[in-house]
Point group: C2
Chain length 320, copies 2
C-alpha cells in the first residue's frame, strides 16, 4: 500500500466529510516555533464550522496544557468557536475564537495521568522529576508529590557526591522529559532511585530524538533520558506519541469513532505511527520533519501514511 | 571452553612463568576508589622482581597519565623498581619504588593519540570537548587545539539558544569522556558541530555504562555520550577498552608478544573482551564488577576468560 497524494478540491472535500475527529500534532504542522504556518488558522476554522471535533496531541512536555493554551492564544490559533452566550468553559475567553484546555493533550499531562491512574502511585510516594515547570504543573494538578525538577539544588553543574546524598525511600518513580537544565546531579540521583529503590519505575514523557527549535534542531526529550537508559541498560516506559499510553489518555476523556478519526502530523515515527497504533487514519504534511523523498523516493520509509499533502493549508481550498 | 579457576601454588607459579607482559585494569583490580585491595602491591612487586613488563590500562578519561601517576604515587602502588643509579626516566622519583608515566595507558591519552595520529586532524582544526581537565591535558600534550570542556561559558545550566550560538567551522571532531559538568549547552553545541560541520567526527573516550565510585556506582562515560548517540542515531568511534584503538595505542609504544601477554581485569565486557580482541590471554578477578555467578552460575556469560581467581592478591602465594 502506498500513500494517497491529495491534490484536487474533490479529494480534500471528501477527506473532510470522511472524518469527524481531527487530531493534530502542532510543531511542524500548525507552526514552526513561534511562526504560524500560513493557512493553518483558516483550516482549523473551516473544521470548526463543519462541527468537527479538533484535538491537539503534542509530545512537548516542557509546557502544561495551561501554558500550551497560552501559546495557542498568543499565536491566534482559532481552535474553538465559543460564543459568549454558550460559553460554559471555566477557562474560556469571551471572544469569537478561543481554545479550551481539554482540547490539548501533552505528554506531561499524559505522564501525570499515567502515574496517578495506570501506575496508581500511592499518595505517600513521590516522583523524582527530570524536567521543567510544565511537567511539574501537570504532576501538581494530578496531586502527585515530586522532588527534583526545577529545584535549584538539583540545577547545578557542581560535582555530585554519593557521600552527601540521602536516598529518599518514598521515591517510587523517575519521570523524565525535555529538561534544558539537565546535569550530572539529576542523572546520578535518578540512577540511584532506579537501582536502589525496589520497584521504582522509569518513565519518559516522550522519546523524540530532536525537536525543531526556532533556529534549527536541538536534542529532544529522548536525548535527556538517554544517559539513564544507557547506564541502566533498560528502556523507559514511554508515554508520548507513538506510545499507546497517550491514546489511552485521550480515550479516557474524549469519545471518538476510530473509523471516522484522522491524525495529522509531520513525523512518520511519532505522529503517523501513533495514528496507526490507535487504528485511526493518518495524514502526513510535509511542512515539518519528514521530507517528500522519504515517502516517494527510491528508499521509502516502511511507515506509510494513508494520505499525504504538502501543507495543512491545502485543505483551505474547500472553503473557497 | 570454560575458564580455569586457579587455586594452587603451582597454578599461580605456572601463570607467572607463562607471561612476560602483564596488563592491568585498575579500578576493581588494584583498588576501589581510594582504597587499595590488600595484597595488590605485593603482587606488583613480585612481578617487577621477576622482570615482568607491567602496564596499566584504564578507561578513566577524567585523569591524564600525569594525574594518574599522582594517584598511583599517593596510593603507594609499587609499579616500577627504579634504582637511583639507573634512573633515566625524567618523571621518576628517587625512591625504591615508583611508577613511570609511560606504563599508564588511559582512554584520554589514547583518544588524543587517535585524533593526532590516526584521524590526523589538521593543525588548523580543533576539537569540541565534553570532558574534564585530564582529557584537556592529554589533548594539549598532543598539540591538539580544543574548545568547550572546562570553559566556564559551557559549564552552565542556563538555557541554550541557537540564536546566540556561532558555529565554529574549524571544529573537526567532538570528543566525549566522563564529564560530571555535563549539561544541555554542551550536548547542544556538540550536536550542532556533528550535524552542521561536514566530516566532523564523533569520538568517545570509552563507553562504560557505569563506574565504581567510592560509595557506589555512578553513570559512566557511555552515559555522557548517550544523548548525542540518541539524538544523532549514530554510535561514536569508541577508544577505550574493549575497542582495539586502545590496544593499537599501546602497540605503538610497547613491544610485547601477544602469546606471552595477559590482561587482568574485573569486567567481562571491557577488560576481558579487550584482551580477547587483542589476542592476549585473560585473567578475571572477582574484586570488582563481575560476580562469580556470571562465570559459573546457571546462565554464564558468553564472554569467557582464560583464567579466574578471586583477587589479584592470590598470586602473592608464589612469593611465600
Amino acid at each position: 500500500m502506498s500513500a494517497v497524494h491529495l491534490s484536487s478540491h474533490e479529494e480534500y472535500a471528501r477527506l473532510i466529510d470522511q472524518y469527524d475527529t481531527w487530531m493534530f500534532d502542532c510543531d511542524g504542522v500548525l507552526w514552526h516555533g513561534d511562526r504560524l504556518i500560513p493557512g493553518a488558522t483558516e483550516v482549523l476554522s473551516l473544521l470548526r464550522g463543519k462541527k468537527k471535533k479538533v484535538i491537539f496531541v503534542t509530545n512537548n512536555a516542557t509546557k502544561s496544557r495551561k501554558s500550551y493554551k497560552g501559546k495557542f492564544d498568543n499565536l491566534g490559533v482559532e481552535a474553538s468557536v465559543v460564543r459568549p452566550l454558550f460559553n460554559t468553559t471555566a477557562g474560556g475567553r469571551f471572544s469569537n475564537f478561543t481554545i479550551r484546555q481539554d482540547e490539548i493533550y501533552g505528554s506531561a499531562y499524559a505522564a501525570a495521568v499515567y502515574i496517578s491512574s495506570v501506575m496508581k502511585l500511592p499518595k505517600n510516594k513521590k516522583v523524582y522529576v527530570i524536567g521543567q515547570s510544565g511537567l511539574e504543573e501537570e504532576l501538581r494538578d494530578e496531586g502527585i508529590s515530586f522532588v527534583g525538577g526545577t529545584d535549584p539544588a538539583d540545577c547545578t553543574v557542581s560535582p555530585f557526591s554519593l557521600e552527601s546524598f540521602t536516598l529518599d525511600p518514598d521515591v517510587g518513580a523517575v519521570v523524565c522529559g525535555l529538561d534544558t537544565a539537565i546535569n550530572y546531579t539529576k542523572v546520578s540521583k535518578a540512577f540511584q532511585y532506579l537501582t536502589r529503590n525496589p520497584g521504582c519505575q522509569f518513565i519518559a514523557t516522550n522519546e523524540d530524538s530532536t525537536y525543531p527549535a526556532a533556529h534549527g534542531l536541538l536534542p529532544g526529550a529522548g536525548a535527556i533520558s538517554a544517559p539513564l537508559r544507557y547506564a541502566l541498560g533498560k528502556d523507559p516506559i514511554a508515554i508520548g506519541k507513538p506510545a499507546k499510553t497517550m491514546l489511552d489518555c485521550i480515550k479516557a476523556k474524549v469519545h471518538f469513532d476510530p473509523k471516522r478519526t484522522i491524525m495529522v502530523g509531520d513525523r512518520l515515527n511519532t505522529d503517523i505511527l501513533f495514528g496507526q497504533a490507535g487504528g485511526v487514519s493518518t495524514l502526513l504534511v510535509l511542512t515539518g520533519i519528514t521530507l517528500a523523498s522519504e515517502i516517494s523516493g527510491p528508499n521509502p520509509s516502511l511507515i506509510v501514511p494513508d494520505y499525504v499533502t504538502s501543507s495543512i493549508a491545502d485543505l483551505a481550498v474547500v472553503s473557497k
